[in-house]
Symmetry: D2
Subunit: 361 residues, 4 copies
């Protein structure tokens, strides 16, 4: 920016600036960094190794109880670029939650929506507004905004899983509400199948004619089972004939994302293959379910193993390069960016580069 | 209507009416039956027994060849109330189609959309814009508006199935277009799984991230398999805890009906149970897949067996009473009525009667 | 179509055909004309001269009373190609209605929707669910499906206007309901401005924050005034810089057509200019408001004057060639065709021909 | 919250916490304030008096030039509760912009969307993607996301107006892009009417049949004129019969808010009347156009005059009490809250209190 030649002497300016400050005003011309050619992203590419998350979860399980109070035994992934904020990227909370055998986490609800993704183990039940959802490896379980949810582990073995919340977005909008459940005790019900799945997980494209009233703003299906996901990934991979295939988790009745704030996807990459390098506005959290390989984010290349959580900041190019076949789960804030007309994507692969004409949009 | 006292003598009126006729005008006050308190439906409740349809289909197979010319070996169900029009109800064409072993019906396309529902047998392949879809008992196969479609039967055994088309609606709108396929010969491809299913039949709520561009106005999934439908009906029945359960076939990506003109549903009714008596505007065609019982339509009660096709005219109450467990497939024009703001439904069961306050809407 | 060589002797075939007839079946291969390369439209291009409509309306006013009974003093335009059906095109009823001074037409409602377009005169009030709407030249007034409506003419002078209804469509769907109003007498209220306009005709893009609940399936605004339309046509013509400009009447709150079954548009064509020749599926009724010129429909060229009603059958090319500046109002069934995925348009002007590659879609 | 009894000694815990910190993890049970019963809003109710804004704008005009560099002569309203951030509420930037006679502010574009609202004066032209929009008192002018915009003041008199931007939201989503226009010079075109208005400001509910392709995510109409707004407010006030009336600025073609991130409304309150006390999630900025009175926000009561800008933080009750008749313009982030399923409203007036059952949702 060229030097500005003021029409005023410094004392005059000082006086004016003093008046601004007194009146809670700031001159735009003294501000910088507000409008940048590209997003000035503070979050950094980062990897939280699965092995460490499991080990620290287990140690916390030994030393720290699960108590009443809205809290859970949860370790939040804190992006090193975000100045201590407990967020994996600027718009997403990601964490691991650890529940020992016979522990319970009683019910509460909050406007931030949460999802649970399980990398290994099974046996915990999450009740969503009273509907008992079993959790096992590869399952995605939703606890949408303002639904009561609680967890209980009736077995002897501890269990760990990943939580992702849209908390940073809801907090930035000053819209956080929280309420404890009606009881100090967790509901320890189980059921062969959740009601949600009984109604909505029948078959692709088949929905009940007279089902319950559909909830606004989110999927009525609350659990997506690994057996289904695995089969669908296999079928899709055979259909595309490419080295990778990606599925989006959606509302089975109305289409669209499972939650108004978070998009969930899973990508299978064949051994030796890689996904195309691409970037988009908005943050993303990856979680490796199966396989090992390399995840490239921005200028960094991270080795990846099951249980790893990785942060992909806004506008950072990323891809997955599979050593052995990899399944990688992804959560992004894409529905927010799309709803607000702010989604911008760029394909940086060779194919994309050929097609591009220079502009990112 | 009270007798109208004209201000004019008869000769004056005759002169006026003559002028109207010369100018292609008609006086509203001499017309009757245009605006009736309830729909004046000409179609009648009717049943075409499955046994007769199979037998006559087979005899036609012996005597009549399948030739080039847009025609198929098809017997159209002609509602006795419709004055000879080849329609099952005033808005739907229903028919059986019979294809002998090694026969082919080459490609054509038309703006009326069609669906195929199979009651028994298997082995015919329908290609929709080149995608080979195997047909077997309980399957629903779509050939949407303006898609090329052709059938071939590579095996030795004949096969029969039901066709339903929205032809009366498209014809009433003067919007019928027809085109023969590029070849005199049917394409006899087969495939382990149609591309349509490879992309869209993975699992409930899981859709491809980078799939083909979605077709406007209809489902991208073209086949709904009986194994899936059967499993989904069973799960739904266990969930509802009622004596019957109904599923709607929908677009698995965007939700909504499979076609813009026809709604497809299937109802399973447990032995000894019955669906609620109800009526709605618009026509409906039923096809019994499994089981025997009674189908009540208006004032008639029809015995029902597999393969039966039944006509439910607009605003006629209907229900299914199952002797043994019954699966009944249904096609209606409900998407048309709903899109135009003309859907009106009435629950005539005991439960509905209690809730009703007199008005049908 | 090639001659079909049957495998059967005639007696065998006769026997089979007899069986078909007994069972209410028809063989497709003996039917013809069901699936045609282009729409087989029975309606013909036609013009009902405004002068005759006014004259015959006036004579009916002298000779025929307006009575209770759902009827009005209405002359229906009967397309000569439609075999005596009282429809202007196969999907639209068009008529003139004539009300003498101090006459009233009491309230009724029906599922077919109606619209009124006024070519000349003023002074009649139409009440829609009790909201009094004044009618004057150039105004469009809506009486949507199932709204009570009544007309009264408090002045001394008679008034004539055009009615258009979607009756053929609603009747084809067996969805006609009719109900007389609560009183034998018309409500003769007047008001400086209808409530509908008070809420929704403030200014383009400005809508009430806390207005009444919006009706489903149609515009909450029931009258579109000529002063507004005239000004908007003028502004649009200056903006486009072309010799003609067309406006669509829409729901001012949610966008989209004013009714789910009928699209309303108005075109101003400058003296000596012409609209592009085009065709589309579905029927259309034109009404000349101002100016004289020629309306070309299919192979016919009709001289046109104020008050003329013209029928444009499905898939017939049409254009307006203005001698002096013309304003032509148009109603079509386009929302129906679009909702059902059946709209097909073709630009046959020189510009369109250059762009076309042969196919109409 | 009850005191947590740890199972571990302090050295063990210290060791564990140290491991967390090393691995960029934070234990949820040591965090507080994340999930609060109601939003923990940092922004405060605040008023920036119009008189001061005009005076300081004018002094800045004397002392500070307008230069190339993405900057404008703009004073940002800084909410005293937001720790120095230049935002009026946590989700909205509000500011006054001052342009002296014969000054120009050349073109740039950015993903944050802006709107301009004029309290007094006239004569500046804002070009949006080259379309010249004159600005005068009471006008709302939009410069949507990623549209080039520039201002020029061809007259001798300075002009001041309010800018509101969604910058905090776009920045929180790491989606800020910025680009300077192709020229160092402002385009100084003027026109009798903007093209945007020529196409879309004809009349309520009348839209062009063949207009330009509609922009995604926002209104194609870029200026809402005071003459129209004033007339619409008057008509609405007569229709409601209440002491106040509120209009929303919307997309005249498709309905919905003018921008995907900001809702614009204007309320007229009659002398001596007051709007209902209410609150909702999300932030709001008020700007007084006409009249004097009191604006109540939270526990504060601010005297209000033309030109005042006021901050209404999320979930703060607010109302306008008019001394003389007041017109108050409002911008909120409601479209964001609604799109994400986070809108919660509460009517705190006597009427609302009677209807309420305790819960805010």
């Amino acid at each position: 920016m060229a030097t500005r030649r003021f029409r005023a002497s410094e004392p005059e300016l000082d006086l004016l600036y003093g008046s601004f400050a007194e009146r809670s005003l700031q001159p735009l011309w003294e501000l910088s960094g507000l409008l940048t050619p590209e997003p000035r992203v503070q979050g950094l590419p980062h990897r939280w190794p699965g092995r460490e998350l499991r080990e620290l979860g287990s140690r916390a399980g030994d030393l720290v109880p699960v108590d009443r109070g809205g809290d859970r035994r949860v370790l939040a992934c804190c992006n090193p670029g975000l100045g201590g904020a407990p967020y994996a990227v600027s718009t997403l909370w990601a964490a691991v939650q650890y529940l020992r055998g016979h522990e319970v986490a009683p019910a509460h609800r909050h406007t931030p929506a949460a999802l649970r993704f399980v990398v290994e183990g099974e046996g915990v039940w999450t009740l969503v507004d009273g509907d008992p959802l079993h959790m096992g490896a590869g399952d995605l379980v939703l606890t949408p905004s303002w639904t009561f949810h609680e967890h209980h582990n009736p077995g002897d073995r501890p269990m760990i899983w990943m939580d992702v919340l849209d908390l940073p977005v809801v907090a930035a909008l000053d819209a956080v509400f929280f309420e404890e459940g009606p009881s100090e005790e967790a509901d320890t019900r189980t059921a062969p199948r959740s009601a949600s799945e009984g109604w909505y997980a029948g078959a692709p494209g088949l929905v009940p004619v007279d089902g319950p009233a559909l909830p606004a703003h989110r999927s009525p299906l609350l659990a997506y089972r690994w057996a289904d996901t695995d089969r669908a990934l296999g079928a899709l991979l055979r259909t595309t004939g490419a080295g990778h295939a990606a599925l989006r988790y959606t509302d089975p009745v109305r289409g669209g994302d499972v939650l108004p704030t978070m998009r969930c996807e899973i990508t299978r990459t064949c051994a030796g293959a890689a996904t195309g390098l691409q970037r988009q506005t908005g943050g993303r959290v990856l979680c490796v379910l199966h396989g090992t390989g390399t995840v490239r984010i921005g200028d960094e290349r991270f080795p990846a193993e099951p249980g790893d959580i990785l942060a992909v900041p806004s506008w950072s190019p990323w891809s997955v390069e599979a050593g052995e076949q990899m399944d990688v789960f992804s959560t992004s804030d894409a529905p927010v960016l799309e709803a607000l007309g702010l989604m911008r994507t760029q394909d940086l692969s060779a194919a994309g580069a050929a097609a591009r004409t220079g502009a990112g949009r």
